[in-house]
Symmetry: C2
Subunit: 770 residues, 2 copies
């Protein structure tokens, strides 16, 4: 824990500069706009500890892999989100002395992330060693309207002197990844060009040939008056800058407005990217700071109008949930189906590749309810486009005939991860991808998606499962050997209940989807069957045989679903029995001790109970929850939210609230002492789920929205927005009751506390508690 | 397979020079004397493909480890056998042109490893590009008497010219390990000194501060006449040489005799090592080539007189078994209890550290029968000395109270291996170390060893097992969770029959050993109990409870011992069902496919049946053999020998012989296309076991030697030597019958075909077949 940030409903605020917290703040105050993102590094030179991070969506590097012992099937490379040339730099010299917060005294330091407007601000007073005292104010944003544009306003006001102030705005391409496996640099520089008032660098990745072009243009104002400039130009191989110097008197404000363009070859032809950068920069410059900011703030207001959650009576909780929603909206906007959501988003390097099952299991529910259907649809199409790669991936492991195994970690559909017990065995990810299709269709009602993109993915996945099971002559059942479930504190187990349950669910749902497509569009159905060389009778007969004869481990005494066969052979002790000093166990226990223990990292059986809740009665849910939650250490950020939702489900609002607390301020209060590496972006969606699906009890039942809200006693009220099919609903829950406003769309019928209600267009429903 | 070597009873012979085979030959023709060893590199410059390897026993390097994903408990380093400065070099210039077999035409090339004498010879005729034709003869040995001395005789005879011949004898310390994890060099040079007629280099390892000093001195003779020399000296930072040039006429032989000293700080003080090297070199020089060779050959004759196996009627088999015995005797002589036997001995870098469970499981039986008891005793004391490290190793993994886990791979007692499923889980190695003590005591009768060194090791090991089991409430039995058996094609399984059987055996034997020591030396017993803080009643009660309630997986239908719980859930196909094209599967199948298959890399259940054969009736042995052998792929060099022994046991001499063939010429005929990396030293002991324990049926029964010989129909006869307690027996088996000569020691009674016989001192027994 490290609680140094001020609580506020709309802002994250750091008061006073503590270099020890700087890298953590660089993560927490990160900015992004879906198309690019960056850590909250300082614009001016900083010689203290920093983790530089400038990221351009979709631009990655296949770093040469590093393993201890090679296993057949390992991929050749590990794709990394790439630290790109930095464009925020503005060195500042005061009467010849470089401004550097590591080397001067700082007072009145305030760093603010204004989440309502998507703006990072900073003010401070610096006392230089030459005795000069000055006030600095900065404001930075990555336009969410013009997503190739970044904007900085940086001002300096002398407080006790008249003198010379130099601004050196620059672009620096001499950057590297701190997680480079062999300390290699990943960029070659193609163009570096410095003109009067502007500069450009084009760089290409040493492998894969991604090009990026960073450009800048700037103005300087003194007390609001634009100044004439005659800059000195620097044009090094990897660095371009302008140097401008001005005489300033005490209390005069000297402000530089730096307009940046950030373009990549994902969106521009390589031959035109430099020209296009000129255009992007020129057009931003023309629009001007005020207009750019105004449009940016307006777009954020619109985003908030669909996705905000308002909590009354708990500022820390209010700040936390807005922080989570804000970061998710900064990371992924759903406009480009080539992109996805990395576990750290644009806030750090850890975990390399961008796409994990986190996307389908955690992020999809968030975007389904808070954005237009197209956003989630693009996440699904991303996987559709990787189907062939998933088939190749499965073939490398020995599967045939169109079986598809989606990778554990990927940028382009190829597997990057190299740890056999995960890469080859944590195959439940494949099921999550199928489930996301189901989830999308039931939430949006867009069944047509199955025809266009969904069915071939479902069939590839189901074919994989049908080959991955083994018929055990000993059990006279199908078994699933050698898997790792979501609980990575077990490896290479047999008959993981979650994985097996998900596998047969895929087999059933794929057949439902096939039946639907056959019915709705027979031509398309026949086309798919033929494209996939699908032998309907034989393949579905096999699937149905597996569905009927699958082995699921169950504790005979209690009826609890067993995480895997043999789980009850372990010593059964509980999390409360552990000395808090040895937690998290992954930092204190040897790996084999963790594996042999009964302790669970994150929801595994309960992940399945959560997904398939409608298949189990409340007693079964309660029984499994009561068994597993006390054995779960929540050492994955993805764990508490699922448990919180289930605790709400069984009516235990107290436990649900406590579990919610563990997830909502995970990064803001740095629970795990690792926020300096970046934020837990994907688990932020879980926090949102804890409120909406947990406290709010939101489900889809028979194609209709259903709400069963509870409210933690610590809160006065909370309200959230839900997009469901054509409607946008505003749900407000308080001790007094529940109100639902039908903000957008036609009349809707929904379930509230299991009773069916109709809410007319633009009307509301209020149910007061008895 | 690559059969390019000529069959011969005493020699390994390569005729004709094929550069493609050179690295393989460098392995096969390796020399060693227990204290040092080297690959069979050429003395003269060679610009073709070569794997340079000069090794000094006990000198290693802790290379920075390389892992993909760090796990708690992994060691910080991986210790490597170190490629040391090379002292064999003699560059040869003929009228100014460098002799280099990669650049001249070679004829009449013969490379010979004379195993009887321990000498490497080479002759060839070279035609240089300048037209000069010359004959070269070399002879090299590492004295097994003066084990810090190496000797080379290198002669050149002009065949078609008179001219100038230059010899440049040198020592080169600019060497590196080809398996260096980060391409680092591991040596710093302290002294390089070139004098007239001699030269020295002292080098130290960059970590651990091992020092080695290599020295050389030489003479040159023309047609047997010693020549006066006036050498040019070179003294570079990492290289020292003398250059001497002579006028030679056609058909005159110019011969250089190079005496080398190889000293290490294991045996010399660092301050004196250079002085000592001068003395070692001077003393060898004084003794002279003839005497050095004579003593060396005599000592080899003595070694052979105890360890030879003679096979009549099969030259290939004869050559093969002698090659195996020769290499084992080159690798380890048992004179230094700080040393051990690396899987590649002194023949390559692969596998890094020197000590694996191979030593106890395979090499101990060989040395017990072919050497004095002290040799094996030193191997056991090596582990005794590492007991504290084994306790620390176990503590790192969470074990307490003196539990000891010996490392999977080590140089100094610390674990080097970093693959969790092996490092933490392949714990059966601990049992092999206990079994070796039992094996030593039963073979030598040296029960006193238990008092001095054995008991504390046994207790540490047994304490580990008693903590490593888990009491399963579900089974009401003790279970052994999360292990990897000898069959590394399964990882992280529960209740591996071999491991569990070995664990409870350790618990029983440790108690027997305790009872013996208590009886024979109560004071010592009390001392050990007190030193180890041993709570006799409580600890042994726990052990006995485990012994009585251990869970062993058994197939209920057939009674076959199951390799692990759940083994019968796998698809049961056989090795014969596999397409030969996909074998070895470890080169063709993904790792997860291998893990999920029923295929077995090497004896696992059968390793246990072999160790504890006396506990099972023949039907049980046969049943398990018949079940497992068809599922075993023998993709470990340690596998066929165990199967061959068991095949002999159940009387299937045909299968036993076929399995023997797979092991005996493994390296000579390069079955696995990997001999260029080095020889399979430890598995060579298994080949010896296949004959003596397999065909010969040698066992220890109730403290007496027992023989049950069979003979493959391909052989006329075979004979082997066995040291057993005070006796040296010569056993000869032919179709006609069995003869045993009591060559050394007093009268002995033994079992032959289960009947008891007495053989008087220096007498023999002949039993003719009916």
């Amino acid at each position: 824990m490290n609680e140094y940030l001020k609580h506020d409903e709309w802002c994250v605020i750091e008061e006073g500069f503590n270099p020890e917290n700087h890298r953590s703040s660089e993560s927490i105050f990160s900015l992004g706009n879906g198309n690019m993102g960056q850590r909250a590094m300082f614009e001016e030179h900083y010689s203290g500890k920093t983790l530089q991070g400038t990221y351009v969506a979709g631009v990655y590097y296949p770093d040469k892999t590093r393993v201890g012992w090679w296993k057949n099937g390992y991929p050749e490379y590990f794709a990394k989100v790439l630290n790109a040339p930095t464009w925020i730099g503005i060195d500042v010299k005061i009467n010849g002395e470089m401004l550097d917060l590591a080397k001067c005294e700082t007072s009145d330091f305030v760093r603010t992330l204004n989440m309502k407007e998507g703006v990072l601000e900073r003010t401070f007073i610096a006392s230089m060693s030459n005795g000069n005292k000055l006030k600095v104010e900065t404001k930075r944003f990555l336009s969410i309207v013009d997503t190739e544009v970044g904007m900085i306003r940086y001002s300096v006001t002398p407080l006790n002197f008249d003198g010379k102030i130099k601004f050196i705005p620059y672009i620096d391409a001499d950057v590297m990844n701190s997680d480079s496996n062999y300390d290699e640099k990943f960029w070659d520089i193609l163009v570096s060009k410095s003109l009067s008032g502007e500069a450009y660098i084009t760089a290409k990745t040493k492998k894969l040939d991604f090009h990026v072009c960073m450009g800048m243009k700037y103005d300087v104002y003194k007390d609001g008056q634009k100044l004439e400039m005659n800059p000195a130009l620097t044009e090094d191989a990897k660095y371009v800058s302008n140097t401008v110097e001005f005489e300033v008197e005490q209390d005069e404000e000297l402000a530089i407005y730096k307009y940046a363009g950030v373009l990549s070859s994902l969106n521009h032809s390589k031959s035109e990217i430099l020209n296009d950068a000129h255009k992007v920069v020129a057009s931003a410059y023309e629009k001007g700071y005020g207009k750019l900011l105004e449009e940016h703030v307006a777009r954020w207001a619109d985003k908030w109008s669909h996705s905000d959650i308002v909590i009354e009576g708990d500022v820390a909780a209010q700040q936390a949930i807005r922080f989570n929603i804000f970061q998710l909206n900064q990371t992924y906007t759903g406009e480009d189906e080539r992109l996805n959501i990395g576990p750290k988003g644009f806030t750090g390097e850890k975990y390399g590749g961008s796409t994990y099952w986190d996307t389908e299991a955690y992020c999809v529910p968030f975007y389904l309810s808070t954005s237009k259907p197209e956003v989630t649809r693009n996440l699904l199409i991303y996987r559709h486009k990787h189907l062939q790669r998933a088939i190749e991936n499965a073939a490398k492991l020995g599967f045939t005939d169109g079986a598809a195994l989606y990778p554990m970690v990927t940028m382009n559909g190829e597997e990057c991860h190299n740890e056999w017990e995960i890469t080859f065995e944590e195959i439940h990810r494949n099921g999550a991808i199928a489930f996301a299709i189901y989830n999308y269709v039931r939430h949006t009602g867009d069944q047509k998606y199955l025809e266009e993109y969904g069915l071939d993915v479902l069939i590839g996945i189901t074919r994989f499962w049908s080959q991955r099971v083994t018929y055990s002559q000993a059990k006279k059942k199908y078994v699933m050997l050698g898997v790792t479930g979501p609980n990575e504190y077990e490896n290479n187990v047999n008959n993981n209940w979650y994985t097996s349950t998900l596998a047969t669910w895929c087999m059933k749902y794929t057949q439902e989807a096939m039946a639907f497509v056959k019915e709705s569009n027979t031509n398309r159905f026949n086309e798919i069957m033929s494209d996939l060389n699908f032998d309907f009778n034989q393949e579905t007969a096999k699937w149905n045989d597996i569905i009927e004869n699958m082995y699921y481990p169950i504790d005979e005494e209690t009826g609890v679903f067993l995480q895997q066969e043999g789980y009850m052979d372990k010593e059964q002790i509980l999390a409360v029995d552990l000395d808090p000093k040895i937690r998290p166990i992954n930092q204190h226990w040897s790996w084999d001790r963790i594996l042999r223990s009964c302790f669970i990292k994150q929801a595994d059986v309960l992940q399945g109970v959560y997904l398939f809740e409608d298949k189990f009665d409340l007693e079964t849910i309660q029984k499994n929850y009561d068994f597993y939650e006390p054995r779960t250490l929540h050492e994955s950020s993805l764990s508490p939210c699922i448990h919180s939702i289930l605790a709400s489900k069984i009516g235990d609002i107290e436990r649900a609230y406590n579990l919610y607390l563990r997830t909502s301020r995970l990064d803001l209060d740095d629970y795990n002492k690792e926020v300096h590496e970046g934020l837990h972006i994907t688990s932020m969606a879980g926090t949102w789920m804890s409120i909406v699906e947990g406290f709010g009890g939101m489900r889809v039942v028979n194609g209709k929205l259903s709400l069963n809200p509870l409210i933690p006693k610590e809160w006065k009220s909370y309200s959230f927005k839900v997009r469901f099919r054509g409607n946008l609903l505003n749900v407000r829950v308080s001790e007094e009751g529940v109100g639902v406003i039908n903000e957008e769309g036609e009349n809707i019928t929904l379930f509230l506390q299991d009773d069916e209600y109709k809410i007319e267009k633009s009307s509301s429903l209020v149910i007061e508690n008895a």
